[in-house]
């Protein structure tokens, strides 16, 4: 599932926190309430590897 949106807004019952994901197989959106949302950005190689061939551009986990 891919994150397509986050919505945090004030309601009469307090803050509403919603995360919307797209199911890549069915194409449908799934919305979930959350109390805390933690994500890790996409990983890339560090800049010190730009002028050499030590690291690949795409990080592949085996």
């Amino acid at each position: 599932m891919e994150l397509v949106g986050i919505d945090v807004k004030q309601t009469v019952n307090g803050l509403s926190r919603l995360a919307t994901f797209k199911d890549l197989k069915s194409g449908q959106n799934v919305t979930m309430n959350f109390g805390t949302f933690l994500t890790t950005p996409k990983s890339r190689k560090r800049e010190l590897y730009n002028n050499n061939d030590i690291a690949d551009e795409d990080v592949v986990f085996i």
């Binding site: 994150l3 109390g35 933690l38 950005p41 190689k45 050499n52 990080v59 592949v60």
Partner: protein, 276 residues
């Protein structure tokens, strides 16, 4: 005769000796050529320390701009000794190293030239190496992300409760130190996109998360219905024995609060295929 030897001991400044004998050789602070150069975090300093303890006689240098490493998610909690088993995850970089024997520099290495066996720092200094040990990790930046950006710049407290793991960002390291404290209610969603982060993909992180939240549940500050949801396209992430079975067994064996640990044991693991 014996008495005079004792007196001599008292008035002589003891020298440090290796186990094999010989005084400790102090490193030249202006040295530019090293047998081994380390670039990276705590694992680098751990290897350097091991080499020192193994009486490696070559010259070594370590580059790291951070004076200390800590688990920002639970920094205060860990430092205060509330989780002693996790305290090793928060320590100064140089606490592992004998600074008399090896150089530790805060400069950032900006370039590597493998053809010349050289590294260049942000100040333009060039250092030569025979062996280079890289422990730099990955570059993780959320800058410019249209979905996350509106919720990440709300200050240190993170009242939106939307957090991003960026080890190179001082702002996010500080903000993330409140992530568990700010979690009051609702589900805890961990969304892993590309290559899994070294923290969130480790069993250690979930063990710590469980330890913290389980205590909260035991005292009633968190709902029994609270769930940890991990959303990732990587089906293999939780298939490693060390990241699943061992941790689950560890959590079960602790029996700290018995059945209240069920929420993690039955934690729905969401992935790209919609498995839960």
């Amino acid at each position: 005769m014996r008495a005079s030897r004792s007196v001599k001991r008292l008035i002589t400044i003891p020298k440090k000796f290796f186990a094999g004998g010989g005084a400790v050789k102090k490193i030249d602070p202006n040295l530019k050529d090293f047998d081994v150069i380390f670039v990276g975090g705590l694992n680098s300093s751990l290897i350097l320390k091991t080499f020192q303890q193994k009486h490696f006689h070559g010259t070594m240098a370590a580059f790291n701009h951070s004076s200390k490493f800590n688990y920002e998610h639970l920094y205060d909690y860990v430092i205060a000794g509330n989780m002693k088993s996790f305290k090793y995850s928060a320590m100064p970089f140089t606490s592992l190293v004998d600074l008399a024997q090896s150089r530790v520099m805060k400069d950032t290495v900006t370039q590597i030239n493998p053809a010349k066996n050289q590294v260049t720092t942000s100040r333009g200094e060039v250092f030569n190496y025979k062996t280079l040990v890289l422990n730099t990790g990955l570059n993780q930046k959320s800058e410019g992300d249209p979905i996350l950006a509106p919720y990440l710049n709300d200050g240190d407290y993170g009242k939106t409760r939307v957090f991003v793991h960026e080890p190179s960002s001082g702002y996010h390291l500080s903000r993330n130190s409140r992530i568990f404290h700010m979690h009051k209610d609702g589900d805890f969603i961990v969304y892993l996109t590309g290559g899994p982060n070294k923290r969130e993909s480790y069993e250690h992180w979930y063990l710590m998360l469980d330890t913290y939240l389980a205590r909260s549940q035991s005292v009633g500050s968190h709902s029994q219905s609270m769930r940890i949801k991990v959303i990732t396209p990587h089906n293999y992430l939780f298939k490693f024995p060390f990241a699943n079975e061992v941790v689950m067994e560890e959590i079960s064996n602790r029996s700290m609060i018995g059945k209240k640990l069920y929420y993690l044991l039955r934690c729905p693991l969401w992935n790209g295929a919609g498995r839960n």
